[in-house]
């Protein structure tokens, strides 16, 4: 044991003297082959390897359960002297708070959480911006005015996404309703497909989703209707259905964080980046008519410039209560803890 520690210190000292590459670890909650959430974080990691080359070493572990098991993984990386550790799921919060206190020399970054410590910061993207834009597409393309939304879990992030999407739908098509079904999964193709089918059965002709699997896209393609994806460009999975997807793009943000750790300017700020930062964006397929695409892109530019916000009052909840008056915009705090649906959403928050 003592000898091990001695070797470890020697190793640390020599590596420090050689200006060793920054060691960065990523912890993913799902397999990186999921084509969704974890896949996009891993794309960010690969982007780092490309940008920094030999100045950086990255490692990762996939499918790490949230809870106590996650904690031993965070501890394992910190123990080996990794400089920067990214935890990419909400459920790692307690573990990261605890481990960050034990290892002050390691910088921790937690995606989608809200607790910080001296060496733990949080980051997330304003996904509601591209969600709103994808809502414009859905609202313009529906003929039955029934839009299906396969929702993941009843948490603020998902609810905010549904509301932003519904705001977009409402903007172009006040008659259309967004019907929500919960799958209570992040990645379970069979169940997510079933949920999509239940929406198709009530006449939905556009299917949107919040999970990592492309199963809802495929369900829409099977019925010959349209779909809105999530996370990444899912057109390959449903070429005749896929219209658009709000997507993550972590690379540039990860680059910024790595640079700040390298030059010692990192702070434990809570980062929430939008389209203007490049953290999130929308992709459109060729199936979107040019008129609709033009509208979406001009709205996108307005959001980037700050002239437009997806949530602008008047906004009513499902019971018809006025939540935000004419021209009013919810605060970040309100957005981060959203637990109600707007008036054109059909469904209940479980």
């Amino acid at each position: 044991m003592k000898r091990f520690l001695l070797i470890l210190t020697l190793l640390l000292v020599t590596t420090a003297m050689l200006a060793a590459p920054l060691r960065v670890a990523f912890i993913y909650v799902a397999p990186i082959g999921d084509g969704g959430w974890s896949f996009m974080h891993n794309q960010g990691r690969l982007y780092l390897e490309k940008v920094f080359g030999s100045d950086i070493v990255t490692d990762f572990i996939e499918n790490v359960p949230e809870g106590a098991e996650g904690e031993s993984v965070f501890r394992g990386y910190a123990q080996r002297g990794y400089d920067l550790v990214f935890g990419t799921s909400f459920g790692y919060m307690d573990s990261m708070v605890k481990v960050s206190k034990s290892f002050p020399k390691t910088t921790f970054m937690h995606c989608s959480g809200y607790q910080v410590t001296d060496n733990l910061g949080t980051y997330f993207g304003r996904m509601y911006e591209p969600r709103f834009l994808s809502g414009l597409v859905a609202g313009a393309m529906t003929k039955t005015n029934i839009i299906g939304y396969v929702a993941a879990f009843p948490i603020p992030e998902v609810i905010r996404g549904i509301n932003a999407f519904a705001m977009g739908v409402q903007y172009v098509n006040p008659q259309a309703k967004v019907h929500v079904v919960w799958s209570n999964t992040w990645f379970d193709p069979a169940r997510e497909k079933e949920a999509a089918v239940s929406l198709l059965d009530i006449g939905a002709d556009v299917i949107a989703q919040h999970q990592d699997s492309p199963a809802p896209q495929q369900a829409a393609e099977d019925r010959g209707v349209y779909s809105i994806g999530y996370n990444s460009d899912m057109s390959a999975f449903a070429p005749k259905a896929f219209l658009a997807a709000p997507v993550w793009n972590w690379g540039p943000y990860y680059e910024k964080i790595v640079r700040s750790v390298m030059d010692g300017t990192w702070t434990n700020a809570q980062y929430w980046g939008g389209i203007n930062d490049g953290a999130v964006d929308i992709v459109l397929s060729d199936l979107v008519p040019s008129g609709v695409a033009k509208l979406v892109m001009s709205m996108r530019n307005a959001i980037v410039k700050g002239d437009m916000h997806p949530f602008v009052g008047p906004i009513y909840d499902q019971a018809g209560n006025l939540k935000y008056a004419e021209g009013e915009i919810p605060s970040d705090g309100d957005l981060l803890s959203m637990d109600w649906f707007i008036n054109n959403v059909v469904g209940k928050i479980q």
Binding site: E62, P65, E69, S72
Partner: protein, 370 residues
């Protein structure tokens, strides 16, 4: 000429140790070849691939058992496995197949959370709190197992199906609570209960990495060993398991034994849920168990239902899980390969078991009318 599988008449005593050891060695060997091929693909030449394979193996086998931090991680994974497996052994001895360890674990965790956050929130003494939470956790697991027990005892339903289905019900209950009424009011609407107060946490040491749950598991194992070996219950339950008819003729009330076996089984798993909450989780959240209740079935079976062997096997299994994490964390091995490895270990252990119990016999066919 025919080939027939027949039962070995005599199994040498040392087979119980030697066969699993050889089985694991075979699994390691096969996996070594797979790893070698994998690393050749990545590194391009055989000698560096060989070095990498040896390094990876060393990492996988030493970190979980010979390094302080790895050892703590191993203990952490061992504890829930051990509790559920100990519980299962109690029912399996009577050939009552409780597949509901996962649900009983969830129920124990759920009700102990209720105790910690609501029911006993005015209790300030850690000792009283921990005892109370252990009791309500065990009671919850017992109550959850009582359902299939009564159904089996009085309606002859199949306990495998009922206990399995109740797992999903238990998980849905926990989900309902953590996404709904028990959601942490200070949690910005995110799922999960409020954290446990300090007095509801098990004493822990070494920078909070090691909690006393392992000693509680040890105590339960010793108690079970005593019950199995030295008490009338132990003897009678063995008879029920070995020969139900004989048990009936000898006047054992099989119905009562069935009910008690499942209830105690559930109680131990429920206690495990409470310990997991008080020891490491400190708050109830969705999916807090990555299937410990199912892995424990394998653990109980590999340990041949012997309580002390269960502790050993769950320790080794915990180490296997931790070691496999290391392979992913530092050698960039894909998760799928890790699953293959875990499958290989089980496959070889099962195969070894079969080989030690049965043998192939070549039978010469004898003409019929002779």
């Amino acid at each position: 000429m025919k080939i027939r599988i027949e039962k070995r008449l005599e199994i040498p005593r040392y087979a119980g140790i030697i066969v699993p050891v050889i089985s694991v060695a075979v699994a390691l060997l096969i996996m070594g070849i797979i790893l070698l091929v994998f690393f050749v693909g990545r590194l391009g030449n055989l000698s560096s691939a060989f070095r990498e394979t040896v390094e990876a193996y060393k990492e996988m086998l030493t970190w979980p058992f010979a390094n302080r931090y790895g050892l703590f991680s191993t203990f952490m994974r061992m504890v829930p496995l051990a509790f559920v497996a100990l519980g299962l052994s109690f029912a399996y001895r009577m050939k009552i197949w409780n597949i509901g360890g996962e649900g009983q674990l969830y129920m124990g965790a759920m009700v102990s959370t209720w105790g910690a956050l609501f029911l006993f929130k005015d209790v300030k003494s850690p000792l009283i709190m921990i005892v109370l939470l252990s009791i309500v956790g065990a009671a919850a697991g017992a109550a959850w197992a009582l359902i299939p027990a009564l159904m089996k005892a009085f309606a002859r339903t199949d306990e495998i199906v009922v206990t399995l289905m109740l797992n999903y019900v238990a998980i849905f209950w926990v989900d309902y609570l953590v996404y709904g009424p028990w959601k942490d009011p200070k949690g910005y609407g995110f799922p999960g209960t409020a954290p446990f107060p300090d007095q509801a946490r098990l004493p822990s040491f070494f920078d909070d990495e090691f909690h006393i749950g392992v000693f509680i598991a040890l105590a339960v194992a010793v108690l079970l060993q005593y019950i199995y070996r030295k008490t009338g219950w132990g003897f009678n339950s063995q008879i029920v398991g070995d020969n139900l008819l004989a048990a009936r003729y000898s006047g054992i009330n099989v119905r009562n034994y069935t009910i008690i076996a499942l209830v105690v089984s559930g109680a131990i798993a429920g206690l495990g849920g409470a310990v997991q909450m008080m020891g490491v989780q400190h708050r109830l959240q969705h999916g807090f168990s990555p299937g410990y209740g199912y892995t424990a079935i394998i653990v109980a079976w590999l340990a041949k239902l012997n309580p002390l062997a269960i502790l050993l096997v769950s320790f080794l299994f915990g180490g296997l899980l931790v070691g496999n994490d290391q392979l992913q964390m530092f050698y960039k091995l894909p998760m799928a390969l890790i699953s293959v490895f875990q499958g290989l270990v089980l496959f070889c252990l099962l195969g070894g078991e079969a080989v030690s119990k049965y043998r192939l016999a070549i039978v010469k066919e004898v003409p019929e009318n002779e």
